[in-house]
């Protein structure tokens, strides 16, 4: 029940999925709020939380990828076309890449900033900056990269959610159900 089987996800994979899903949605909202809605006074604190949550997502994504490597991957339901299989694979690969690249690009922009604002992760420990040269141009580059990746992530998440809903409501298969609870051995199809 903790590990994956060929028909379904175990509790660990399910927990990783939803924890990271909630963190990504919260992180996206936090990023938008701190940049567009908050005044300078609250923005500073929100940015620090955004940095902390980003590092947490990066750490969880690495653990999740490791867990994926040592677990069987549930098979896709039968009857999917080659295009659907390629699309599903691309979306999942895209999500994994962005789970890593978004935090890394954010860390890079902080590290390249001439402001040298320390990253005090969850106000618990100082996360050192990446060894990048500090300049306004480098910071601007990484900031743009971070924002573009953020929008790409939003688009891929939307595709992922729509696909899951399609599988559940239109195709009536177990794709959505099996990421909510582990497949019961007796009801595997």
């Amino acid at each position: 029940m903790l590990r994956n089987s060929s028909t379904g996800y175990g509790w660990i994979a399910i927990l990783f999925h939803w924890t990271i899903a909630i963190l990504i949605i919260g992180q996206w909202g936090l990023g938008w709020t701190m940049e567009h809605l908050a005044g300078p006074r609250s923005a500073f604190g929100l940015i620090q939380w955004h940095k902390s949550v980003g590092l947490l997502i990066l750490a969880l994504a690495l653990l999740r990828l490791s867990w994926r490597l040592v677990n069987p991957r549930p098979l896709l339901p039968g009857g999917m076309s080659l295009f659907e299989k390629l699309a599903a694979g691309s979306v999942h690969r895209g999500l994994y890449w962005l789970m890593l690249l978004l935090p890394l690009s954010g860390w890079a922009l902080v590290s390249a900033s001439v402001l040298e604002i320390p990253t005090y992760a969850f106000y618990l420990f100082v996360m050192p900056d990446l060894p990048l040269e500090r300049s306004d141009a480098a910071e601007a580059f990484w900031t743009t990269t971070h924002i573009v990746l953020g929008w790409i992530l939003l688009a891929i998440v939307a595709a992922h959610v729509l696909a899951a809903l399609r599988h559940h409501f239109l195709l009536h298969d177990t794709v959505l159900k099996r990421i909510i609870r582990p497949a019961h051995p007796l009801t595997k199809r």
Partner: protein, 192 residues
């Protein structure tokens, strides 16, 4: 070469204006002085959990130093600082400090210090207690002053002190940036 260098040194020494005297005693500089922002510096720094922290200065301020000839302890100081003149070397930091996150210069254009007690602590030193008003809050503050030079009708003091930001509603960024602001000033007053 050596002789030429020596001669030019002598010439420069003679040509120089009245050299700054090593002022020895606060009692020697009794008088009424107007602070000159042009020749003074009013610097501050805030440390951070990692990295360089923030340091900057205020470029516009004015004030008075009154040194009582009979009793140094009856001296007084007032300083008015224009926080809109803050400079840190980083334009984004300057804007942040001027915004409502910190000084809120639109609604609070001045920071004001008025001494309430001066206590002589040495030949050239005094401890200055007073009330500091900033960002709509007033609280006690203590600075240490040391007479550093006396030149013609100008007197110079090195003044330092620590002020906590939180009582002034300026604790944004803590604990990444320290709650303590270290002031380091070289205040030059012209005798009036």
């Amino acid at each position: 070469m050596r002789t030429a260098a020596l001669l030019s040194f002598v010439a420069l020494t003679i040509a120089a204006p009245a050299p700054a005297l090593a002022a020895t005693n606060l009692s020697d500089v009794a008088g009424h002085y107007a602070l000159s922002a042009r020749t003074s510096s009013l610097g501050f720094s805030i440390s951070s959990v990692a990295g360089a922290g923030i340091s900057g200065k205020f470029r516009q301020f004015n004030g008075w130093i009154e040194i009582d000839p009979k009793n140094i302890n009856r001296s007084s100081v007032t300083i008015t600082i224009m926080p809109a003149s803050v400079v840190t070397g980083q334009q984004r930091v300057d804007s942040f400090l001027k915004s409502d996150a910190v000084f809120d210069v639109a609604d609070n254009p001045t920071i004001y210090f008025r001494s309430t007690a001066v206590r002589r602590t040495g030949e050239k030193t005094a401890s200055i207690t007073g009330l500091l008003t900033a960002h709509g809050h007033t609280g006690p503050a203590v600075f240490n002053a040391e007479l550093s030079s006396l030149s013609g009708n100008a007197v110079s003091f090195h003044v330092s002190g620590k002020v906590f930001r939180s009582p002034y509603g300026m604790d944004v960024g803590t604990p990444i940036y320290s709650n303590v602001v270290n002031f380091d000033m070289e205040l030059v007053g012209k005798r009036r």
